[in-house]
Symmetry: D2
Amino acid sequence: MDASSPNEAVILLHCPDQPGIVARVANCLDKIGGNILDAVQHTDFESGTFLQRLHVSWPQHDSDEQVVRDAFTALKRDLNLNWRLQWSHTPRRVAIFVSREDHCLHDLLLLRRDGDLHCKISLIISNHADLEDVAKRFGVPYHHVPMEFPGDPDGEAEQLTLLKEHNIDLVVLARYMQVLSARFIAAYESRIINIHHSFLPAFAGGSPYRQAHEKGVKLIGATAHFATAALDDGPIIEQGVTRVSHRDSVHDMVRKGRDIERTVLARAVRWYLQDRVIVHKGRAVVFE
Amino acid sequence: MDASSPNEAVILLHCPDQPGIVARVANCLDKIGGNILDAVQHTDFESGTFLQRLHVSWPQHDSDEQVVRDAFTALKRDLNLNWRLQWSHTPRRVAIFVSREDHCLHDLLLLRRDGDLHCKISLIISNHADLEDVAKRFGVPYHHVPMEFPGDPDGEAEQLTLLKEHNIDLVVLARYMQVLSARFIAAYESRIINIHHSFLPAFAGGSPYRQAHEKGVKLIGATAHFATAALDDGPIIEQGVTRVSHRDSVHDMVRKGRDIERTVLARAVRWYLQDRVIVHKGRAVVFE
Amino acid sequence: MDASSPNEAVILLHCPDQPGIVARVANCLDKIGGNILDAVQHTDFESGTFLQRLHVSWPQHDSDEQVVRDAFTALKRDLNLNWRLQWSHTPRRVAIFVSREDHCLHDLLLLRRDGDLHCKISLIISNHADLEDVAKRFGVPYHHVPMEFPGDPDGEAEQLTLLKEHNIDLVVLARYMQVLSARFIAAYESRIINIHHSFLPAFAGGSPYRQAHEKGVKLIGATAHFATAALDDGPIIEQGVTRVSHRDSVHDMVRKGRDIERTVLARAVRWYLQDRVIVHKGRAVVFE
Amino acid sequence: MDASSPNEAVILLHCPDQPGIVARVANCLDKIGGNILDAVQHTDFESGTFLQRLHVSWPQHDSDEQVVRDAFTALKRDLNLNWRLQWSHTPRRVAIFVSREDHCLHDLLLLRRDGDLHCKISLIISNHADLEDVAKRFGVPYHHVPMEFPGDPDGEAEQLTLLKEHNIDLVVLARYMQVLSARFIAAYESRIINIHHSFLPAFAGGSPYRQAHEKGVKLIGATAHFATAALDDGPIIEQGVTRVSHRDSVHDMVRKGRDIERTVLARAVRWYLQDRVIVHKGRAVVFE
């Protein structure tokens, strides 16, 4: 269920585990008129951490941002709490990076058009001019930013300027075939979602379908993950696979892989936009 | 995670939806020293019902059954609450019904032996003598209760006597090929789990693989559901499918189906024993 | 592998089973210079029928249609053979029928554009005007043929005229929400592929996701099948499923179902266009 | 379909690709009275290799081994053919290697008992005494061969003696937790099937579920492959996956993984015993 009514918000929190957290958080919300529509939690016993997602509404009156912030600031002190609040009336602003392949881009644009992604797709950035007409059809600004080489500082500076101008909250690499610099990634830490066309950690790096074909695997996959400075190694949000056989050429794998890539990326982006994802100790906890 | 420590319990509850339930239940538990290890909930908006599963521990002292009962009785009054509590130190007592096929039986016995089903398998009842040696190997009493015809009152009376003698909490029909009478099912309402060898509601009744073969479906399945008076029509707990083609004979489907049947049944039984299943409005809510 | 080189063809045949068919067919092709690139066969023991798909090339010279026809006519007599030949240099002409939902349409158009469907999409016919702009973007003629009621003879007459004018070989019902008359279906027997948004035979007819939600199934599916006079009951070409839970509303099921629908339909259409599908005794044999 | 009638055989062959092979092989069989029940082939265009599996019967008279051998020896010369023939009346002799976990062992023994594996399970060899009673129940000789360290030459010598005494055709490593020496593997090249509890090439080596948990993957898998001198790197026969989440501990993954391991291993062993597997250029072609 999308959190889209005016008086609703999703709160994501984590803190050191101790008895009574659920009751204290529930009470805190109850006192300020918040009703818990949905709550899901996880305790990571290895690190002794409590993590929770709360979908909250203020049914009887308009929620007052400051009241909520004050209440959670007190809680933060007592429980050593990390928390984040996202109102449903302010959809996030998303930038999509693409290169030449458009299957993931099409999927995200259609989902957004059908109301199945709670966000505003503010702009599309590409290192190629090819997909400008796709952007046009859906009325999204398209910026062609050529990259002379991976991490080209001029190109990245232009990209970062665009992201700032549009107040971008989330960058989606929808088969963007350029490695980003560590500096770029640091600027949007845990806010860049990439789709890699293999079942990571198998076949990281280039030409994963060729690698898969050479290895003779019987399933190929795709992995949506947060981009980190280490290539194809960030926290995994979602994965999927499909069956292949000796009859499938690399080209067949590329074709079959497209269905998995777009589905896996769309799920990861939807979950992020629904505030279902927390990165904790290098892994993504996904409250599906 | 299995609820198996001495001071732990799972509480399943449902009540008419209203603001503040989560906070009130959490407070109620907090006051009597209960710590919520895990909580998951669902609101059925169609019927206006709130449903919740709580995994609770009493870390600082032994939990006192009566204290918990008193606290929830008060809550029950205020919230019009249905609730059920299951202590983890009292594993449920299970009876398995079989006929001649033993793949599901073997799976359940091995899972129990490996500590992956939190229960005591108290007895095995069959309308045939064939599987007595399997029962023996695992040290479970085996009762051969012949049935002259489906719902044979003499046979069922003997079965019901056995179930009562062993204080059975859950009956698992692990490919038991006899239709039970409405009277029998009523005696164990929502406590009889059956595995049907098709993807229900397709191919209810007899010979589902033959039906599937004749229809030419490309996937066959299995369905674990609560038995109700209407044949193969009770609340569905879990389903699975596997791929078939024109090359598969009915015999091949039977063989492929076994893997799905045992896996689906084992999941359904595990979830039930972990108190993850609530029947509501004729459907099973499963808090996986 | 698509059969797309100039001197290649796919031959689909079936005949009463008897020893020696494979050798005789192989010899027949060898004598006229045909090289078997791929052969796959199936024997239906119930009906005593041999079925085969042959992918043949004529490497040393241009294949002569008449020579092939003569050779197979002789074989037809001896073996009581049904056979069909499709040259790869003449892609089939396809008409897509749609209503208002465009996810399947988009998928087919993108696959065609990327060279992953071996056909010409000659026209799109709809009972609504909504999707005209999609058709335009891909340069495919769009015909809005309003239907006053299901099977409206005026509308169907117009549709049939269009199909004849364009020499259509295959009609794809890509979420076309109108029941076709038996007369229409008879005119394109085994040449109309429909996508039904359920795992048939479960939930035939209208609102299958609503039916699935009410039943509380744990998997939803889609079925691509040949349209026959009996609604949602023709030979099944392909099926797929995806997982759902009590948390999924009917709307969520519709959204999740789209991914399955388009993938299942695209596979069925591709296999048909690769001549991998034979309808035999009311079932579709699919040589994937 | 199992090749189990007295006059039936499966022929696996591969040779440099050239026009006319299918016809020549079919003719060769036709001349010696062989009827092709099923034929499936594959052309590896990269290496220019033709591979084929033929299921043949001699319906009118007993097949004469020498006649077949003579016919194929002539063909071998002409086509530079590698070929192998397996009569269905001589089931292969299989040795199963185990350590302490018995889920794969149980599965193979039950499948054999039910007639779903066409082989004789001649003996079970283990580096532990634990599973002797399982072997006894199924009437299979059990040999406890302790290994002081991986590749212990004394232990391996004893194992190899046992394999020779029993004329073993296939060794199945059913969760045998000892690395075999290169010498041992060379003695049974392409005749040792191992089940590795990860989706290879991810997580080769020890503790794959722990590795998977640390990486935070969303799917875990199992891989059946031929053992080669390089650890966990031989030709892959079959793979499967199942879904996991942050809620799954390493222990949960181990439990969920068992279902995949036994299913994947059973499929690989069945396909091998049905002569559906050819190792070619380091990859396994599987004619499912």
